[in-house]
Every structure is written in C-alpha cells, then in structure tokens.
C-alpha cells in the first residue's frame, strides 16, 4: 500500500489531485509543494473578475489553509523543487530538504513566454500568470492610461476588456491577420474584433513588435513597419511554456510537455503528470496527443491520476472544454477543431448569440464555439464525447432545438 504521495505544484490540478485522493479513500501522507507563497488559487479570474476588482483574494483562493489541514494535507507554500531523483524516489527543494515518495504527481504548470525584443525588461511591461502579476498590472491600470496589449489571444482580449471598462485607452497588437487566430475560426475572430472595436479598443493585426521603447520605463512600442504606439503600460500575452524541465532532467519523456498515458502516468510508473505541464493522449481525437491549457484538463487529469494511484476505475473523459468572459459575452468552447473540414454557423452573430460547429468529412462533430449560447455548448460537448454525427443543414436550422439535435446524434 502507498503511504507517501507527493504533489509538485499547487495550482488547480494539484488541488484537485489532493482532493480526489482523499475523497477516494487515501489516508497516507500527502504533501503539496507550492512555490508562490499563497494557498492554491484559481487562475482564470486573474484576467477577469480579480483584475477588475470584483473578486478579492479570499474568493480566488481555492481552499483556505484550515481546510487543507482538515484534509491532512501537508501544504508547503515556498517549496521550489529543484531536482527529482527517480532511483531514490525523492524530490529536493532548493534549501536542500528532501521529500520521499511512493507516488509522485507533477503538476508544475507553465510559465509565460517572454517577449524576445529589446526593451522587454523595462518597468511597465507586464505579463499575467500569477496573483503577483495581476496585482502589479492592476495597480497600473488607471483611468486614462494608455495600455498596449501584445498578443490577441484570450489573456490579451480579456485584459483589454477589463481595461476598457476601467477607462484606459487600449491598443491590441496581433502578429497574425486576426485575433484568436491559433484557437478560433475567422467568424469568431471577426466577432471579437468587432466587439472590442465597438468598445473603443484599437486592434492592429499583421504587425510585428520590434522593440519596447522608454528610458527607465516604457513609453511606447515600436513596430517593424516603423510606427511607434505610445504606451504607459504594456501587457504581453503571447503564450505559455510547460514547466517540463524537472521531468526532462530526470529522464522522463517530455518534448512539448511531460508525456503521459491514459492514466496520466509518465514513462516512470511511479510518476504522474497533470495539467498545463502534461502532454496527454486526446482520447476523442484518434491517436493524437497534446497539451491542453485549461481548467477542465487540469481537473480531469487530476482525477485520472488519483484513480490510477488508488487502483480505481478510470473516470470517463469528457470532451475538452474552455471558456472566456469579455464584456457581456461568454464564449464556451468544447472540443478541438483541428482536422475539421466544414463549419456550420447556428444563429446570428449580430445578435451576440450564436455558435460555430466544426465537423469532419463524415459530419462527425469535433468542436463547437458558442457565444452566449449554453445549449449549443452543452449539447455539442456531449455529442463530441460520444463521437456523434450531425447533419449540417439541421444544425443551422434554428427551428430545431438543440435538445432535438442532441437526441438525434
């Protein structure tokens, strides 16, 4: 019987793993090694309600330390793990202290991709990953200031929405021809571009940043085409890098993320990897594997790992899902659209309530992007998970309800 389980990390995945292990009946030693000096907290609000001030720190914290103590989880908040020794089955903190394990869960998360241009280290240039980042950015987000957002992905768009509402002057710079180019179809990109422009945001696409300008702090962002956009502060949101080094240095398979099997187990049977740091088989998408940067993925892999460690049946995998809040718009995405050959729009984008369904050549549903459209999202998510087929014409027909559509797939 296992008596020592160590979890490296203290984010959403780590929290769920600890919770699921205890709920599943594990009563041995359970150690959580975080390095942010705070109890585990949620990241999604950092670019939304926490940044706007609508949600305070106490509400972002997932569970207070007393609740961890009641669950008999030994929580370390300043534990930077510097090495993993698979032979002795131990991890070591920077201060030299060692934790032995029977099973190890790596929930090391990810870090922001740094802007690779001159001036990126100037004061006033922000990233957004941690509460500390959000506090630093929030302090500088004052009415009338000029914010330049580098990167038109979810983080950039969500911060732009909060900043606009707070009365800042906002410009988004995107290298691709449209925002959300990597994650959404053109109709969704167009929708969000219009939404932000209508709110007063300037969006420049197809632009390359060549330097951040300023003496002791940022004063502008220089573009490769010679223009300079004046700025009082800059937010960089150009993606994340999985924290896979600890695993890689210990000899675990980890190219883009720590590779796991269906049980979230790595190439070492005593070690699991979950959340942003892991590359998992995408069960609903043939033989593909990949990293999924989402809360749902963190929670699901945590449950898979806990079940595998406890020898319990594997939970059923849902379709991957994501969400984003901007202004009064809720975007809910289920599935992965890679490989889709056709997309069907249901509803009217000008009404701010519609969905885009992505189908393969056999009309199998691969993904749905739903704007203020929960029925489309929920039914779509269920149909994706059972690999159901949908007739495009029927899908586009608003006189047929999503319940009826779901029942026929």
């Amino acid at each position: 019987m296992l008596s020592r389980i160590v979890i490296v990390g203290a984010g959403q995945a780590a929290t769920q793993a600890a919770t699921s292990l205890r709920a599943g009946g594990y009563d041995g030693q359970l150690v959580l090694l975080g390095n942010e000096g705070l109890p585990p907290y949620q990241r999604p609000p950092l670019s939304k309600a926490y940044l706007s001030g609508a949600m305070g720190l106490d509400r972002v914290i997932l569970k207070p330390l007393e609740a961890w103590a009641e669950d008999k989880v030994e929580v370390h908040l300043d534990a930077e793990v510097t090495s993993l020794n698979r032979e002795s089955k131990s991890v070591t903190k920077r201060d030299g202290s060692v934790f032995m394990y029977d099973a190890l869960i790596l929930a090391t998360g990810s870090r922001v991709r740094a802007l690779p241009c001159p001036g990126a280290e100037l004061a006033g240039v922000h990233y957004l990953r941690s509460i500390r980042d959000a506090d630093g950015l929030g302090q500088e987000m004052q009415t009338g200031k000029r914010l330049v957002v580098i990167g038109g992905g979810y983080i950039g768009l969500e911060v732009a929405a909060v900043a606009r509402k707070a009365g800042l002057d906002v410009t988004i710079l995107e290298a691709a021809p449209r925002v959300l180019a990597r994650v959404a179809p053109p109709v969704i990109s167009d929708f969000f571009q219009k939404l932000h422009r209508d709110a007063g945001v300037t969006i420049l696409t197809d632009v390359k940043v060549s330097a951040i300008e300023g003496a002791d702090r940022v004063s502008g962002v220089a573009l490769a085409d010679g223009r300079t956009i004046s700025a009082d502060l800059v937010l960089v949101g150009i993606g994340i890098i999985p924290n896979a080094e600890l695993a890689r240095e210990a000899g675990l398979k980890a190219e883009d993320g720590i590779e796991t099997d269906l049980d979230a187990r790595t190439s070492d049977p005593a070690i699991f990897a979950i959340g942003d740091c892991a590359s998992r088989p995408l069960v609903h998408y043939g033989q593909r594997r990949g990293r999924l940067e989402s809360v749902h993925n963190a929670l699901e892999q945590a449950k898979l790992a806990a079940a595998a460690i406890l020898g319990q049946p594997r939970p059923v995998e849902e379709a991957p899902w994501f969400w984003s809040d901007q202004y009064d718009i809720k975007l809910q995405i289920a599935g992965l659209s890679t490989g889709a050959t056709q997309s069907v729009v249901r509803g009217d984008p000008s009404q701010k309530r519609f969905a885009v369904f992505h189908l393969d050549a056999d009309n199998r549903l691969l993904a749905v992007d739903a704007i203020n459209a929960p029925p489309e999202f929920i039914v779509g998510k269920q149909v994706i998970a059972r690999h159901g087929q949908l007739a495009p014409a029927r899908l586009a027909d608003m006189s047929v309800s999503m319940k009826e559509i779901g029942a026929s797939a």
Binding site: K48, K63, A67, D325, P374, I378
Partner: protein, 106 residues
C-alpha cells in the same frame, strides 16, 4: 455571515457559515462539502454546482439569469427548485437557507 444548510444526496447535513457577498457554491467548496464540483470556479460556464433550493426559500433567491437558466435546462434531474449555486450570492435575507445536492454533477 449567514447560515446555509447543505443536504447531501445521502442525507448528510452540513451547516456552514457563509460570508455575505460570496456564493452558496463557494461556501460548499471552501468547507469541503462534497457534491458540488464547480469546475469553472463560479463563472456560470459549466453547470456542475446544481442544487435544489428548499421550497420555502426559492422565492428569496430571486430568478435565475438567462445564461443560468439555459445552462440549468440541461442539468440532470432539473426541477423548478433547481439553481446553479454559484449564481446565488448570500445576503442577510438568506440566513438559514436549505439546499439539497443532486446525486451527481457530471
């Protein structure tokens, strides 16, 4: 603080003091009440915090918003007493509220 009684599907009761201004979902999650998953953390994005509000209290919780209503429409075993607990903010008026939890959220 205002009191919330959570009754698990098994019948186990938990009486919790929940800060006014926070939600019934948060009161459950932070106090280890099993049966409310709240995968999205309260963003009204996932419908995994479904509860049945005691009939005596349902009026006081107000009407669900349109997003909540359409999410709830797809929850398992939904009734006129169904709410998403992340969308009920505690007020002094709700002191003593009773909510029952469904068998499963997924």
């Amino acid at each position: 603080m205002a009191k919330v009684t959570y009754i698990e599907h098994s019948g186990t009761e938990h009486v919790i003091d929940v800060p006014v201004g926070t939600t019934i979902m948060e009161g459950a999650v932070k106090n280890r009440v099993p049966g409310i998953d709240a995968d999205c953390g309260g963003a009204c994005a996932c419908a995994t915090c479904h509860v049945f509000v005691d009939a005596a209290w349902i009026e006081k919780t107000g009407k669900p918003g349109s997003m909540e209503e359409s999410m709830l429409d797809f929850a398992e075993g939904v009734t006129p007493l169904s709410r998403l607990s992340c969308q009920i903010s505690m007020t002094p008026d709700l002191d003593g509220i009773v909510v029952r939890l469904p068998a499963a959220q997924h």
